[in-house]
Amino acid sequence: MEKISGAQALMKSLLREGVDTIFGYPGGAIMPVYDALYDYKDSIRHVLVRHEQGAAHAAEGYSRLSGKPGVCMVTSGPGATNLVTGIADAMSDSIPIVCITGQVTAAALGTDAFQEAPVIGIVTPVTKWCYQITNAAEIPHIVAKAFHIASSGRKGPVLIDITKDAQFELCEYDDSIQTITLKSRHDPHFAKKLDRAAALLNSAKRPYVLFGHGISLSKAENELVQFVEQGGFPAASTLLGLSSMPKSHPLYMGMLGMHGNYAPNKLTNKADVIFAIGMRFDDRVTGDIKKYAPQAKIIHVDIDHAELDKVITADIAIHADAKEFLAQITPLIKSRKHDEWIGQFKKLDTEEREVVVDAELYPKSGEISMAEVVRIVSEKTKGKAVIVADVGQHQMVSARYYGFENSDSFITSGGLGTMGFALPASIGAKIAGPKREVIAIIGDGSFQMNIQELGTIMQEKLSVKIIILNNRHLGMVRQWQELFFEERYSFVHMENPNFNKIADGYSIPNELVEERKDLAPALDRMLKAEGSYLLDIMVKRDENVFPMIPSGAAVDEVRLK
Protein backbone atom coordinates (compact mmCIF):
# COMPACT_ATOMS: atom_id res chain seq x y z
CA MET A 1 0.00 0.00 0.00
CA GLU A 2 1.22 3.48 -0.83
CA LYS A 3 2.23 5.47 2.18
CA ILE A 4 0.89 8.94 2.84
CA SER A 5 1.51 11.47 5.59
CA GLY A 6 -0.72 11.76 8.65
CA ALA A 7 -1.77 15.17 7.38
CA GLN A 8 -2.91 13.66 4.08
CA ALA A 9 -4.63 10.84 5.92
CA LEU A 10 -6.53 13.50 7.88
CA MET A 11 -7.70 15.13 4.64
CA LYS A 12 -8.88 11.81 3.24
CA SER A 13 -10.62 10.97 6.49
CA LEU A 14 -12.42 14.31 6.56
CA LEU A 15 -13.57 13.87 2.97
CA ARG A 16 -14.84 10.41 3.83
CA GLU A 17 -16.99 12.02 6.54
CA GLY A 18 -18.46 14.37 3.96
CA VAL A 19 -16.68 17.48 5.23
CA ASP A 20 -16.92 20.35 2.76
CA THR A 21 -16.08 23.27 5.04
CA ILE A 22 -13.46 23.91 7.70
CA PHE A 23 -13.33 27.02 9.89
CA GLY A 24 -9.75 27.49 10.89
CA TYR A 25 -6.66 29.45 11.69
CA PRO A 26 -3.15 28.18 11.01
CA GLY A 27 -0.03 28.15 13.14
CA GLY A 28 3.17 26.23 13.76
CA ALA A 29 1.86 22.98 15.17
CA ILE A 30 -0.82 22.48 12.51
CA MET A 31 1.30 23.50 9.50
CA PRO A 32 1.70 20.03 7.97
CA VAL A 33 -2.11 19.78 7.85
CA TYR A 34 -2.42 23.22 6.27
CA ASP A 35 0.15 22.14 3.73
CA ALA A 36 -1.95 19.07 2.87
CA LEU A 37 -5.08 21.24 2.73
CA TYR A 38 -3.44 23.25 -0.05
CA ASP A 39 -4.02 20.26 -2.35
CA TYR A 40 -7.69 19.94 -1.36
CA LYS A 41 -8.75 23.52 -2.08
CA ASP A 42 -11.28 22.32 -4.62
CA SER A 43 -13.09 19.87 -2.37
CA ILE A 44 -12.85 21.60 1.01
CA ARG A 45 -13.67 25.24 1.59
CA HIS A 46 -11.42 26.62 4.28
CA VAL A 47 -12.77 29.72 5.98
CA LEU A 48 -10.07 31.79 7.59
CA VAL A 49 -11.60 33.29 10.72
CA ARG A 50 -10.01 36.16 12.62
CA HIS A 51 -9.95 34.55 16.07
CA GLU A 52 -10.23 30.88 16.99
CA GLN A 53 -13.32 31.50 19.13
CA GLY A 54 -14.93 32.62 15.91
CA ALA A 55 -14.02 29.28 14.30
CA ALA A 56 -15.80 27.33 17.01
CA HIS A 57 -18.96 29.47 16.88
CA ALA A 58 -18.94 29.41 13.08
CA ALA A 59 -18.76 25.61 13.23
CA GLU A 60 -21.76 25.69 15.57
CA GLY A 61 -23.74 27.92 13.22
CA TYR A 62 -22.80 25.67 10.32
CA SER A 63 -23.95 22.61 12.21
CA ARG A 64 -27.29 24.17 13.14
CA LEU A 65 -28.22 24.74 9.51
CA SER A 66 -26.53 21.78 7.83
CA GLY A 67 -27.45 19.15 10.41
CA LYS A 68 -23.87 17.88 10.10
CA PRO A 69 -21.02 18.37 12.54
CA GLY A 70 -19.20 21.65 11.95
CA VAL A 71 -15.42 21.39 11.75
CA CYS A 72 -12.81 23.78 13.07
CA MET A 73 -9.07 23.48 12.95
CA VAL A 74 -6.47 25.49 14.85
CA THR A 75 -2.91 25.40 16.06
CA SER A 76 -1.61 24.34 19.47
CA GLY A 77 -1.33 26.45 22.60
CA PRO A 78 -3.16 29.77 22.25
CA GLY A 79 -4.98 28.59 19.12
CA ALA A 80 -6.46 25.72 21.05
CA THR A 81 -7.20 27.67 24.24
CA ASN A 82 -9.00 30.30 22.16
CA LEU A 83 -11.44 27.57 21.11
CA VAL A 84 -12.50 26.71 24.63
CA THR A 85 -15.45 29.11 24.98
CA GLY A 86 -16.92 27.83 21.72
CA ILE A 87 -16.47 24.22 22.77
CA ALA A 88 -18.14 24.86 26.12
CA ASP A 89 -20.96 26.60 24.27
CA ALA A 90 -21.47 23.60 21.98
CA MET A 91 -21.42 21.30 25.01
CA SER A 92 -24.17 23.29 26.74
CA ASP A 93 -26.36 23.34 23.65
CA SER A 94 -25.61 19.79 22.38
CA ILE A 95 -24.21 21.03 19.08
CA PRO A 96 -22.05 18.56 17.16
CA ILE A 97 -18.70 20.07 16.24
CA VAL A 98 -15.37 18.40 15.56
CA CYS A 99 -12.34 20.43 16.64
CA ILE A 100 -8.90 19.57 15.35
CA THR A 101 -5.94 21.06 17.17
CA GLY A 102 -2.26 20.82 16.34
CA GLN A 103 0.05 19.83 19.15
CA VAL A 104 3.80 19.92 19.75
CA THR A 105 5.71 16.75 18.84
CA ALA A 106 5.18 13.70 21.01
CA ALA A 107 8.73 13.95 22.32
CA ALA A 108 8.11 17.54 23.43
CA LEU A 109 4.82 16.80 25.24
CA GLY A 110 5.02 17.74 28.89
CA THR A 111 8.20 19.78 28.52
CA ASP A 112 6.54 23.22 28.40
CA ALA A 113 7.57 23.40 24.77
CA PHE A 114 6.81 26.49 22.69
CA GLN A 115 3.04 26.80 22.25
CA GLU A 116 2.35 23.68 24.22
CA ALA A 117 -0.90 23.72 26.16
CA PRO A 118 -2.40 20.65 27.78
CA VAL A 119 -5.39 20.78 25.49
CA ILE A 120 -6.86 17.42 26.41
CA GLY A 121 -6.59 18.38 30.07
CA ILE A 122 -8.26 21.72 29.43
CA VAL A 123 -11.14 20.55 27.26
CA THR A 124 -12.04 17.19 28.80
CA PRO A 125 -14.80 18.61 31.03
CA VAL A 126 -16.33 20.58 28.14
CA THR A 127 -16.23 17.94 25.42
CA LYS A 128 -18.31 14.87 24.87
CA TRP A 129 -15.10 13.09 23.93
CA CYS A 130 -11.52 14.01 23.09
CA TYR A 131 -8.43 12.17 21.99
CA GLN A 132 -4.77 12.86 21.35
CA ILE A 133 -3.26 11.27 18.26
CA THR A 134 0.45 10.51 18.36
CA ASN A 135 0.60 7.94 15.53
CA ALA A 136 -0.46 8.71 11.98
CA ALA A 137 -1.95 5.25 11.57
CA GLU A 138 -4.63 6.09 14.16
CA ILE A 139 -6.04 8.95 12.14
CA PRO A 140 -8.67 7.26 9.91
CA HIS A 141 -10.23 5.38 12.79
CA ILE A 142 -10.14 8.26 15.27
CA VAL A 143 -11.66 10.71 12.80
CA ALA A 144 -14.50 8.27 12.06
CA LYS A 145 -15.02 7.77 15.78
CA ALA A 146 -15.01 11.51 16.45
CA PHE A 147 -17.70 12.23 13.87
CA HIS A 148 -19.80 9.35 15.07
CA ILE A 149 -19.63 10.43 18.72
CA ALA A 150 -20.32 14.09 17.89
CA SER A 151 -23.46 13.30 15.93
CA SER A 152 -24.99 10.32 17.70
CA GLY A 153 -27.10 10.13 20.85
CA ARG A 154 -27.03 13.47 22.62
CA LYS A 155 -24.87 15.41 20.22
CA GLY A 156 -21.93 17.50 21.29
CA PRO A 157 -18.40 18.74 20.70
CA VAL A 158 -15.42 16.43 20.30
CA LEU A 159 -11.76 17.34 19.94
CA ILE A 160 -8.83 15.61 18.28
CA ASP A 161 -5.36 16.83 19.22
CA ILE A 162 -2.69 15.73 16.73
CA THR A 163 1.01 15.96 17.48
CA LYS A 164 3.10 17.55 14.77
CA ASP A 165 5.21 14.43 14.24
CA ALA A 166 2.07 12.37 13.64
CA GLN A 167 1.06 14.88 10.94
CA PHE A 168 4.40 14.30 9.18
CA GLU A 169 4.66 10.58 9.81
CA LEU A 170 4.00 8.25 6.87
CA CYS A 171 1.31 5.64 7.26
CA GLU A 172 -0.72 3.24 5.21
CA TYR A 173 -4.14 4.77 4.82
CA ASP A 174 -6.58 2.04 5.64
CA ASP A 175 -9.77 2.99 3.90
CA SER A 176 -11.82 0.01 5.01
CA ILE A 177 -14.66 1.73 6.81
CA GLN A 178 -14.43 0.86 10.42
CA THR A 179 -17.86 0.74 11.91
CA ILE A 180 -18.01 2.50 15.21
CA THR A 181 -20.43 1.11 17.72
CA LEU A 182 -21.05 2.86 20.96
CA LYS A 183 -22.81 1.32 23.90
CA SER A 184 -26.52 1.82 24.00
CA ARG A 185 -28.77 1.69 27.01
CA HIS A 186 -32.10 0.01 26.47
CA ASP A 187 -34.92 0.59 28.89
CA PRO A 188 -36.63 -2.78 29.45
CA HIS A 189 -39.79 -0.95 30.49
CA PHE A 190 -39.98 1.22 27.39
CA ALA A 191 -43.15 -0.32 25.91
CA LYS A 192 -44.97 -0.09 29.21
CA LYS A 193 -43.92 3.53 29.70
CA LEU A 194 -45.06 4.44 26.20
CA ASP A 195 -48.53 3.05 26.95
CA ARG A 196 -48.68 4.73 30.35
CA ALA A 197 -47.64 8.06 28.86
CA ALA A 198 -50.33 7.82 26.18
CA ALA A 199 -52.96 6.85 28.74
CA LEU A 200 -51.99 9.73 31.00
CA LEU A 201 -52.21 12.22 28.13
CA ASN A 202 -55.51 10.75 26.94
CA SER A 203 -57.11 11.19 30.36
CA ALA A 204 -55.62 14.62 31.03
CA LYS A 205 -57.90 17.60 31.47
CA ARG A 206 -55.19 20.21 31.13
CA PRO A 207 -52.35 18.59 29.17
CA TYR A 208 -49.38 20.73 28.27
CA VAL A 209 -46.49 19.99 25.89
CA LEU A 210 -43.07 21.56 26.45
CA PHE A 211 -40.44 21.13 23.78
CA GLY A 212 -36.80 22.09 23.41
CA HIS A 213 -33.76 21.85 21.22
CA GLY A 214 -34.13 18.07 21.01
CA ILE A 215 -36.84 18.55 18.38
CA SER A 216 -34.59 20.25 15.84
CA LEU A 217 -31.59 18.09 16.77
CA SER A 218 -33.54 14.97 15.89
CA LYS A 219 -35.42 16.64 13.02
CA ALA A 220 -38.74 15.87 14.69
CA GLU A 221 -40.56 19.07 13.73
CA ASN A 222 -43.25 17.32 11.66
CA GLU A 223 -43.76 14.60 14.24
CA LEU A 224 -44.18 17.25 16.94
CA VAL A 225 -46.89 19.07 15.03
CA GLN A 226 -48.73 15.82 14.25
CA PHE A 227 -48.57 14.84 17.90
CA VAL A 228 -49.94 18.11 19.30
CA GLU A 229 -52.61 18.29 16.61
CA GLN A 230 -53.74 14.75 17.32
CA GLY A 231 -54.21 15.42 21.03
CA GLY A 232 -55.19 19.07 20.67
CA PHE A 233 -52.41 19.85 23.15
CA PRO A 234 -51.25 23.40 23.79
CA ALA A 235 -47.48 23.52 23.34
CA ALA A 236 -44.74 25.88 24.46
CA SER A 237 -41.10 26.13 23.49
CA THR A 238 -37.84 26.69 25.28
CA LEU A 239 -35.44 29.29 23.84
CA LEU A 240 -33.70 26.68 21.71
CA GLY A 241 -36.95 24.99 20.74
CA LEU A 242 -38.03 28.16 18.94
CA SER A 243 -38.88 27.71 15.27
CA SER A 244 -39.39 23.95 15.67
CA MET A 245 -43.10 24.76 15.51
CA PRO A 246 -44.46 27.69 13.49
CA LYS A 247 -45.37 30.58 15.76
CA SER A 248 -48.62 31.01 13.86
CA HIS A 249 -49.79 27.48 14.70
CA PRO A 250 -53.01 27.65 16.74
CA LEU A 251 -51.62 25.21 19.31
CA TYR A 252 -48.38 27.15 19.78
CA MET A 253 -48.68 29.06 23.04
CA GLY A 254 -45.32 30.81 23.21
CA MET A 255 -41.97 30.65 24.91
CA LEU A 256 -41.09 29.38 28.36
CA GLY A 257 -38.53 30.78 30.71
CA MET A 258 -37.28 33.87 32.47
CA HIS A 259 -38.24 36.19 29.61
CA GLY A 260 -40.71 33.89 27.96
CA ASN A 261 -44.39 34.56 27.53
CA TYR A 262 -46.82 35.15 30.35
CA ALA A 263 -49.32 32.35 29.75
CA PRO A 264 -46.83 29.52 29.10
CA ASN A 265 -45.02 30.25 32.37
CA LYS A 266 -48.05 30.91 34.52
CA LEU A 267 -50.03 27.92 33.33
CA THR A 268 -47.13 25.54 33.93
CA ASN A 269 -48.48 25.54 37.46
CA LYS A 270 -52.04 24.80 36.33
CA ALA A 271 -51.52 21.90 33.92
CA ASP A 272 -52.47 18.45 35.17
CA VAL A 273 -50.14 16.57 32.80
CA ILE A 274 -46.90 18.02 31.46
CA PHE A 275 -45.25 16.27 28.55
CA ALA A 276 -41.69 17.57 28.17
CA ILE A 277 -39.62 16.44 25.22
CA GLY A 278 -36.08 17.26 24.13
CA MET A 279 -35.64 19.79 26.91
CA ARG A 280 -33.79 19.62 30.19
CA PHE A 281 -35.64 21.82 32.67
CA ASP A 282 -32.93 24.46 32.68
CA ASP A 283 -33.14 26.76 35.71
CA ARG A 284 -34.03 29.63 33.38
CA VAL A 285 -37.13 27.60 32.43
CA THR A 286 -38.15 26.25 35.84
CA GLY A 287 -37.54 29.19 38.15
CA ASP A 288 -37.71 27.90 41.72
CA ILE A 289 -37.76 24.12 41.29
CA LYS A 290 -39.53 23.57 44.58
CA LYS A 291 -42.51 25.48 43.22
CA TYR A 292 -42.35 24.08 39.71
CA ALA A 293 -45.55 22.34 38.63
CA PRO A 294 -46.16 20.53 41.93
CA GLN A 295 -49.72 19.74 40.80
CA ALA A 296 -48.77 18.09 37.51
CA LYS A 297 -47.90 14.58 36.52
CA ILE A 298 -44.76 14.92 34.45
CA ILE A 299 -43.71 12.85 31.47
CA HIS A 300 -40.13 13.58 30.45
CA VAL A 301 -38.64 12.27 27.21
CA ASP A 302 -34.95 12.83 26.49
CA ILE A 303 -32.22 11.16 24.51
CA ASP A 304 -29.79 11.58 27.38
CA HIS A 305 -30.73 9.36 30.30
CA ALA A 306 -28.61 11.51 32.62
CA GLU A 307 -31.11 14.33 32.03
CA LEU A 308 -34.00 12.24 33.31
CA ASP A 309 -34.76 12.95 36.97
CA LYS A 310 -31.81 15.36 37.10
CA VAL A 311 -33.72 18.54 37.85
CA ILE A 312 -37.35 17.48 37.98
CA THR A 313 -38.40 14.03 39.09
CA ALA A 314 -40.69 12.79 36.39
CA ASP A 315 -43.65 10.48 36.92
CA ILE A 316 -42.72 8.78 33.67
CA ALA A 317 -39.11 9.23 32.53
CA ILE A 318 -38.46 7.95 29.04
CA HIS A 319 -35.07 7.57 27.45
CA ALA A 320 -35.71 7.99 23.73
CA ASP A 321 -35.00 9.95 20.59
CA ALA A 322 -37.64 12.64 20.10
CA LYS A 323 -38.47 11.79 16.50
CA GLU A 324 -38.83 8.07 17.09
CA PHE A 325 -40.78 8.54 20.27
CA LEU A 326 -43.26 11.01 18.80
CA ALA A 327 -43.85 8.72 15.84
CA GLN A 328 -44.61 5.89 18.26
CA ILE A 329 -46.88 7.74 20.68
CA THR A 330 -48.99 9.76 18.23
CA PRO A 331 -51.05 6.76 17.00
CA LEU A 332 -51.94 6.04 20.65
CA ILE A 333 -53.26 9.55 21.27
CA LYS A 334 -57.00 10.17 21.15
CA SER A 335 -58.14 13.01 18.99
CA ARG A 336 -59.35 15.70 21.36
CA LYS A 337 -59.84 19.40 21.78
CA HIS A 338 -59.08 21.37 24.91
CA ASP A 339 -60.82 24.62 24.10
CA GLU A 340 -61.52 25.71 27.63
CA TRP A 341 -57.93 25.08 28.72
CA ILE A 342 -56.47 26.76 25.66
CA GLY A 343 -58.82 29.64 26.37
CA GLN A 344 -56.92 30.21 29.60
CA PHE A 345 -53.74 30.66 27.58
CA LYS A 346 -55.48 33.07 25.26
CA LYS A 347 -56.79 35.11 28.14
CA LEU A 348 -53.35 35.57 29.71
CA ASP A 349 -51.92 36.19 26.28
CA THR A 350 -54.29 39.09 25.83
CA GLU A 351 -53.16 40.45 29.17
CA GLU A 352 -49.50 40.26 28.08
CA ARG A 353 -50.41 41.95 24.82
CA GLU A 354 -52.17 44.81 26.55
CA VAL A 355 -49.61 45.41 29.26
CA VAL A 356 -46.35 44.70 27.41
CA VAL A 357 -46.46 43.76 23.78
CA ASP A 358 -48.49 46.41 22.01
CA ALA A 359 -46.59 49.30 23.52
CA GLU A 360 -43.26 47.70 22.62
CA LEU A 361 -44.19 46.73 19.09
CA TYR A 362 -45.94 49.92 18.08
CA PRO A 363 -44.46 52.86 19.99
CA LYS A 364 -45.73 56.15 18.63
CA SER A 365 -43.08 58.47 19.96
CA GLY A 366 -39.70 58.50 21.59
CA GLU A 367 -36.69 56.47 20.62
CA ILE A 368 -36.89 53.30 18.54
CA SER A 369 -37.63 50.16 20.60
CA MET A 370 -35.82 46.87 20.07
CA ALA A 371 -39.16 45.13 19.68
CA GLU A 372 -40.35 47.29 16.80
CA VAL A 373 -37.14 46.60 14.90
CA VAL A 374 -37.66 42.86 15.29
CA ARG A 375 -41.34 43.19 14.35
CA ILE A 376 -40.54 45.03 11.13
CA VAL A 377 -37.77 42.57 10.23
CA SER A 378 -40.24 39.77 10.86
CA GLU A 379 -42.92 41.37 8.69
CA LYS A 380 -40.53 42.14 5.86
CA THR A 381 -39.05 38.63 5.82
CA LYS A 382 -42.46 36.97 6.43
CA GLY A 383 -40.95 35.04 9.33
CA LYS A 384 -38.79 33.03 6.99
CA ALA A 385 -35.29 34.32 7.74
CA VAL A 386 -32.71 32.67 9.95
CA ILE A 387 -32.26 34.87 12.98
CA VAL A 388 -28.91 34.56 14.74
CA ALA A 389 -29.19 36.37 18.05
CA ASP A 390 -26.40 37.20 20.45
CA VAL A 391 -26.84 37.34 24.21
CA GLY A 392 -28.71 39.94 26.19
CA GLN A 393 -31.93 41.91 25.91
CA HIS A 394 -31.79 41.92 22.12
CA GLN A 395 -31.68 38.10 22.22
CA MET A 396 -34.82 37.88 24.32
CA VAL A 397 -36.58 40.47 22.19
CA SER A 398 -35.62 38.60 19.00
CA ALA A 399 -36.89 35.36 20.51
CA ARG A 400 -40.14 36.97 21.62
CA TYR A 401 -41.05 38.97 18.54
CA TYR A 402 -39.70 37.29 15.44
CA GLY A 403 -42.54 35.28 13.86
CA PHE A 404 -40.72 32.07 13.04
CA GLU A 405 -42.50 30.17 10.30
CA ASN A 406 -39.77 27.72 9.21
CA SER A 407 -37.77 25.22 11.23
CA ASP A 408 -34.06 25.81 11.90
CA SER A 409 -34.59 29.54 11.97
CA PHE A 410 -33.33 30.61 15.37
CA ILE A 411 -29.70 30.22 16.29
CA THR A 412 -28.48 31.54 19.62
CA SER A 413 -26.33 30.62 22.58
CA GLY A 414 -28.77 29.19 25.10
CA GLY A 415 -27.09 27.17 27.81
CA LEU A 416 -23.83 29.05 28.14
CA GLY A 417 -25.17 32.49 27.14
CA THR A 418 -21.99 33.38 25.28
CA MET A 419 -21.73 37.01 24.24
CA GLY A 420 -19.92 37.23 20.91
CA PHE A 421 -21.67 34.15 19.55
CA ALA A 422 -23.84 35.66 16.86
CA LEU A 423 -21.44 37.23 14.37
CA PRO A 424 -19.30 34.10 13.84
CA ALA A 425 -22.31 31.78 14.11
CA SER A 426 -24.03 33.73 11.33
CA ILE A 427 -20.97 33.09 9.15
CA GLY A 428 -21.32 29.34 9.63
CA ALA A 429 -25.08 29.52 9.13
CA LYS A 430 -24.78 31.45 5.86
CA ILE A 431 -22.24 28.99 4.51
CA ALA A 432 -24.45 26.02 5.41
CA GLY A 433 -27.59 27.71 4.12
CA PRO A 434 -26.54 30.05 1.31
CA LYS A 435 -30.11 30.29 0.00
CA ARG A 436 -31.52 31.44 3.32
CA GLU A 437 -31.63 35.02 4.51
CA VAL A 438 -29.34 35.07 7.55
CA ILE A 439 -29.80 38.03 9.86
CA ALA A 440 -27.60 38.51 12.91
CA ILE A 441 -29.24 40.59 15.63
CA ILE A 442 -26.58 41.76 18.05
CA GLY A 443 -26.26 44.13 21.00
CA ASP A 444 -23.56 46.77 20.95
CA GLY A 445 -21.76 44.97 23.77
CA SER A 446 -21.89 41.51 22.20
CA PHE A 447 -20.89 42.89 18.80
CA GLN A 448 -17.59 44.04 20.23
CA MET A 449 -16.79 40.58 21.59
CA ASN A 450 -16.12 39.07 18.17
CA ILE A 451 -16.21 42.15 15.96
CA GLN A 452 -13.06 40.94 14.17
CA GLU A 453 -15.17 38.39 12.26
CA LEU A 454 -16.33 41.21 10.00
CA GLY A 455 -13.04 40.45 8.27
CA THR A 456 -14.14 36.89 7.59
CA ILE A 457 -17.45 38.13 6.18
CA MET A 458 -15.56 40.51 3.92
CA GLN A 459 -13.04 37.96 2.69
CA GLU A 460 -15.62 35.21 2.11
CA LYS A 461 -18.07 37.66 0.52
CA LEU A 462 -20.88 36.38 2.68
CA SER A 463 -24.27 37.97 2.44
CA VAL A 464 -24.83 38.16 6.18
CA LYS A 465 -27.12 40.95 7.34
CA ILE A 466 -26.11 42.51 10.64
CA ILE A 467 -28.40 44.53 12.87
CA ILE A 468 -26.87 46.18 15.92
CA LEU A 469 -29.52 47.04 18.47
CA ASN A 470 -27.46 49.78 20.01
CA ASN A 471 -28.53 50.93 23.47
CA ARG A 472 -25.05 52.09 24.50
CA HIS A 473 -25.33 49.71 27.45
CA LEU A 474 -24.89 46.16 28.57
CA GLY A 475 -28.62 46.26 28.66
CA MET A 476 -29.45 42.98 30.32
CA VAL A 477 -27.09 43.65 33.20
CA ARG A 478 -28.37 47.23 33.42
CA GLN A 479 -31.91 45.85 33.71
CA TRP A 480 -30.93 43.65 36.64
CA GLN A 481 -29.15 46.53 38.35
CA GLU A 482 -32.27 48.63 37.93
CA LEU A 483 -34.65 45.99 39.23
CA PHE A 484 -32.63 44.09 41.82
CA PHE A 485 -29.66 46.27 42.78
CA GLU A 486 -31.39 49.57 43.57
CA GLU A 487 -30.40 51.26 40.31
CA ARG A 488 -26.73 51.15 41.22
CA TYR A 489 -25.50 51.13 37.63
CA SER A 490 -22.09 49.58 37.99
CA PHE A 491 -20.04 49.55 34.77
CA VAL A 492 -22.82 48.93 32.28
CA HIS A 493 -22.51 52.07 30.19
CA MET A 494 -20.49 51.70 27.01
CA GLU A 495 -18.77 54.37 25.02
CA ASN A 496 -18.91 52.82 21.61
CA PRO A 497 -16.82 53.34 18.52
CA ASN A 498 -18.39 54.49 15.29
CA PHE A 499 -19.65 51.16 13.98
CA ASN A 500 -20.28 52.64 10.54
CA LYS A 501 -16.66 53.60 10.17
CA ILE A 502 -15.66 50.14 11.30
CA ALA A 503 -17.96 48.57 8.70
CA ASP A 504 -16.51 50.97 6.12
CA GLY A 505 -13.10 49.64 7.00
CA TYR A 506 -14.30 46.17 6.09
CA SER A 507 -16.06 47.41 2.93
CA ILE A 508 -19.42 46.37 4.34
CA PRO A 509 -22.23 48.74 3.24
CA ASN A 510 -23.86 50.22 6.29
CA GLU A 511 -26.21 52.82 7.69
CA LEU A 512 -26.85 54.52 10.96
CA VAL A 513 -30.52 54.61 11.94
CA GLU A 514 -31.54 57.07 14.62
CA GLU A 515 -35.11 57.95 13.82
CA ARG A 516 -38.26 55.92 13.46
CA LYS A 517 -39.08 57.26 10.03
CA ASP A 518 -35.76 55.96 8.69
CA LEU A 519 -36.09 52.47 10.13
CA ALA A 520 -38.30 50.65 7.63
CA PRO A 521 -36.60 52.10 4.52
CA ALA A 522 -33.18 51.20 5.92
CA LEU A 523 -34.35 47.64 6.60
CA ASP A 524 -35.63 47.48 3.03
CA ARG A 525 -32.26 48.52 1.69
CA MET A 526 -30.53 46.00 3.93
CA LEU A 527 -32.77 43.16 2.76
CA LYS A 528 -32.44 44.14 -0.88
CA ALA A 529 -28.66 44.31 -0.76
CA GLU A 530 -26.88 41.50 -2.58
CA GLY A 531 -24.02 41.18 -0.13
CA SER A 532 -23.49 41.81 3.54
CA TYR A 533 -24.99 44.91 5.13
CA LEU A 534 -24.82 46.44 8.55
CA LEU A 535 -27.37 48.62 10.30
CA ASP A 536 -26.42 50.38 13.49
CA ILE A 537 -29.80 51.12 15.01
CA MET A 538 -30.00 53.46 17.99
CA VAL A 539 -32.61 52.11 20.36
CA LYS A 540 -33.94 53.24 23.71
CA ARG A 541 -31.18 53.07 26.27
CA ASP A 542 -33.18 52.03 29.31
CA GLU A 543 -35.67 49.53 28.02
CA ASN A 544 -36.48 46.51 30.18
CA VAL A 545 -37.51 43.10 28.91
CA PHE A 546 -40.80 41.86 30.33
CA PRO A 547 -42.42 39.51 31.24
CA MET A 548 -39.81 38.33 33.68
CA ILE A 549 -39.50 35.60 36.25
CA PRO A 550 -37.24 37.22 38.82
CA SER A 551 -34.42 34.84 39.67
CA GLY A 552 -35.40 32.53 42.48
CA ALA A 553 -39.12 33.09 41.92
CA ALA A 554 -41.62 30.47 40.79
CA VAL A 555 -42.84 30.20 37.19
CA ASP A 556 -46.26 31.49 38.12
CA GLU A 557 -44.73 34.53 39.79
CA VAL A 558 -43.82 35.81 36.32
CA ARG A 559 -44.17 39.60 36.25
CA LEU A 560 -45.61 41.74 33.49
CA LYS A 561 -43.88 44.86 34.78
Binding site: T124, D304, K310
Partner: protein, 80 residues
Protein backbone atom coordinates in the same frame (compact mmCIF):
# COMPACT_ATOMS: atom_id res chain seq x y z
CA UNK B 1 -23.71 8.26 52.92
CA UNK B 2 -20.59 6.36 52.04
CA UNK B 3 -20.79 4.80 48.58
CA UNK B 4 -18.58 2.55 46.51
CA UNK B 5 -18.67 3.11 42.77
CA UNK B 6 -17.61 0.28 40.51
CA UNK B 7 -16.98 1.45 37.00
CA UNK B 8 -15.82 -0.54 34.01
CA UNK B 9 -14.27 1.34 31.14
CA UNK B 10 -11.97 1.11 28.18
CA UNK B 11 -8.41 1.09 29.47
CA UNK B 12 -7.48 4.43 27.94
CA UNK B 13 -5.58 7.53 29.10
CA UNK B 14 -7.85 10.28 30.37
CA UNK B 15 -10.75 8.14 31.57
CA UNK B 16 -9.92 8.55 35.25
CA UNK B 17 -9.50 12.28 34.64
CA UNK B 18 -12.95 12.48 33.04
CA UNK B 19 -14.59 10.58 35.91
CA UNK B 20 -12.69 12.59 38.52
CA UNK B 21 -13.86 15.74 36.73
CA UNK B 22 -17.48 14.73 37.25
CA UNK B 23 -16.79 14.33 40.96
CA UNK B 24 -14.89 17.62 41.11
CA UNK B 25 -17.80 19.60 39.60
CA UNK B 26 -19.87 18.59 42.60
CA UNK B 27 -16.90 19.07 44.96
CA UNK B 28 -16.93 15.42 45.91
CA UNK B 29 -13.78 14.12 47.58
CA UNK B 30 -12.39 10.70 46.68
CA UNK B 31 -11.91 8.64 49.86
CA UNK B 32 -10.20 5.74 48.14
CA UNK B 33 -9.43 4.68 44.61
CA UNK B 34 -8.30 1.52 42.91
CA UNK B 35 -7.89 0.88 39.16
CA UNK B 36 -6.85 -2.30 37.40
CA UNK B 37 -7.22 -3.86 34.00
CA UNK B 38 -9.56 -6.81 34.39
CA UNK B 39 -9.89 -7.91 30.78
CA UNK B 40 -6.64 -8.07 28.81
CA UNK B 41 -8.28 -8.95 25.49
CA UNK B 42 -10.90 -6.21 25.52
CA UNK B 43 -8.72 -3.77 27.50
CA UNK B 44 -11.30 -3.15 30.15
CA UNK B 45 -10.35 -1.49 33.43
CA UNK B 46 -12.23 -1.64 36.69
CA UNK B 47 -12.38 1.44 38.89
CA UNK B 48 -13.39 1.15 42.52
CA UNK B 49 -13.98 4.55 44.06
CA UNK B 50 -15.23 5.39 47.53
CA UNK B 51 -16.98 8.70 48.11
CA UNK B 52 -19.33 10.40 50.53
CA UNK B 53 -22.48 11.70 48.92
CA UNK B 54 -26.09 12.33 49.81
CA UNK B 55 -28.42 9.66 48.51
CA UNK B 56 -30.48 11.80 46.15
CA UNK B 57 -27.33 12.89 44.29
CA UNK B 58 -25.92 9.41 43.87
CA UNK B 59 -28.40 8.25 41.23
CA UNK B 60 -27.77 11.41 39.18
CA UNK B 61 -24.01 11.11 39.42
CA UNK B 62 -23.90 7.50 38.32
CA UNK B 63 -25.84 8.37 35.16
CA UNK B 64 -23.36 11.12 34.36
CA UNK B 65 -20.51 8.65 34.81
CA UNK B 66 -22.32 6.09 32.69
CA UNK B 67 -22.67 8.73 29.95
CA UNK B 68 -18.88 8.95 29.53
CA UNK B 69 -18.10 7.41 26.14
CA UNK B 70 -15.34 5.13 27.46
CA UNK B 71 -17.41 3.78 30.36
CA UNK B 72 -19.04 0.44 29.67
CA UNK B 73 -20.71 -0.13 33.02
CA UNK B 74 -21.25 1.91 36.17
CA UNK B 75 -22.96 1.04 39.42
CA UNK B 76 -22.88 1.95 43.08
CA UNK B 77 -23.64 0.45 46.42
CA UNK B 78 -23.93 1.82 49.91
CA UNK B 79 -21.29 0.95 52.46
CA UNK B 80 -22.18 0.24 56.06
Amino acid sequence: MRYVLTIKSENAPGTLYRIAGLLLRKKINIESLHVKEIDRKKHISLFTIEIFLSTHLMAKLIKQIDRVVEVTHAEYRRMQ
